[in-house]
């Protein structure tokens, strides 16, 4: 039998996830409504008046993405496990890393879609210009690292008895560097800081992404091994 190339297998899994999601819209709508609710809660708990907002916009956005992200990650692995389709994927004559990259890319896509809707909503609600290329780059870099580690840990958590509760507990301490660096870089971009001041945070984000994509890729085999 001819085994499809890594790229084609990866894209097939991404296509499967996206088309399943486009039909049900379960995951995206849940993540989206949840994100808006988190912003609503922040609005009242932090009292987001113009003065406070200047310092906390990046923090509010990243907390929202981090919380909403765990919903998506949990769901995307739970669906595969509960309907037995994970076994099907594992039996398919494809490289295991294609499954990892496929799931990670579709998780990243869901996060980016949610972020693409939350950002303009936040911009309109608080009259703040968030469409700066630098900020968008930070959001992309942060989401890549988040999706890579998140996919790996979600495929671990899905085997545990307490899986929905477990994922954020496993994920947040490991993902903390991404959140710290992303918040710092986002704040700096929003405050129009010079690039030299932003570079250290960007370097940490890029370094984290590279290291953790490599580690997740290495370990995924160990996780799905039956």
């Amino acid at each position: 039998m001819l085994t499809p190339s890594l790229l084609r297998a990866t894209l097939a899994i991404v296509r499967k996830d996206l088309s399943a999601e486009l039909r049900s819209r379960e995951l995206l709508s849940a993540m989206l409504v949840f994100s808006l609710l988190v912003i609503l809660i922040f609005n009242f708990t932090l009292d987001l008046d113009p003065v406070t907002r200047k310092d906390v916009t990046a923090g509010v956005l990243w907390s929202t993405f981090a919380f909403a992200g765990t919903l998506g990650l949990n769901r995307s692995m739970a669906v595969e496990k509960d309907r037995g389709s994970l076994d099907g994927l594992l039996l398919a004559p494809i490289d295991r890393s294609a499954i990892f990259f496929g799931k990670a890319i579709s998780n990243l896509a869901f996060m980016l879609i949610v972020e693409a809707i939350v950002l303009p909503v936040y911009a309109v609600l608080y009259n703040e210009n968030l469409f700066q290329p630098g900020l968008l780059l930070v959001i992309l870099l942060g989401s890549v690292g988040y999706a890579a580690v998140g996919t790996l840990l979600a495929s671990m958590a899905v085997h545990a008895r307490t899986r929905d509760v477990l994922l954020p507990i496993l994920l947040f301490p490991v993902i903390l560097p991404v959140l710290l660096a992303a918040v710092k870089a986002s704040n700096a971009f929003l405050a129009d800081a010079p690039l030299a001041e932003i570079m250290p945070s960007l370097n940490i984000l890029i370094g984290y992404d590279v290291i953790f994509i490599a580690l997740s890729y290495m370990f995924f085999d160990e996780i799905v091994d039956e």
């Binding site: 477990l166 301490p173 490991v174 993902i175 710290l180 250290p200 940490i204 290291i211 580690l215 370990f219």
Partner: protein, 230 residues
Amino acid sequence: MSPKPTLLKILDYVSILLLAVATYLALVFAPTELIMGNAQRIFYFHIGTAWTALLGFIFAAVLGILYLVTKNIKWDILEVAAVEISVVFFLITIILGSIWARPIWNTWWTWDPRLTTAAVTELIYIAYFMLRSGIEDPERRARFGAVYTLLGGVSAPITFMSIRLFRSIHPVVIGAANANQEKMNMTPDMLTAFLFALFTFTVIFIDLFWNRYRLGQLEAKVEQLKLSNQ
């Protein structure tokens, strides 16, 4: 299960004895520090526990790699032993540091890079035990545990770097100090107490580690018996 080896029994008593001597050296023998006063005496046990806990975490990551390579459950039992003792030692480090910080920094806690990294590291290894307790299959539990210790071990230093974008107020005792950090100079007697505390906690770690490994073997045996009875 074989009876407790004589060497381990001796090590148990030696540990207790060493701890008593180390306590004496730290509380009585070492001179009182000029600026910080008696609060500085916490430092000897603070570093002693921190040093062994960090070594234990690194050791656990090495054992995790050994497990993933060989798939021998022995390495997993050793890994759990190392993580468990290190988590307790590190908690002691954090609490002692906090007690020291109250008179010196005038606060129990600050979000300094070292303190934050310590808290996050502690949380990672607590999550490690929550992960393990949720998985029934011993072989899968061992695999997931090994992977998670490695992920945690890599992410903790990056956390430290990302928080260090801010300035640290934690004193640097050994090695070159940053110009804007306070540096502590130790007298020879202080150095004796300090090195003795390091030695003591290393011995206590080895003793506990050995005992915990034997307990782990028993746990594995009990689990096996339970499974074979079903």
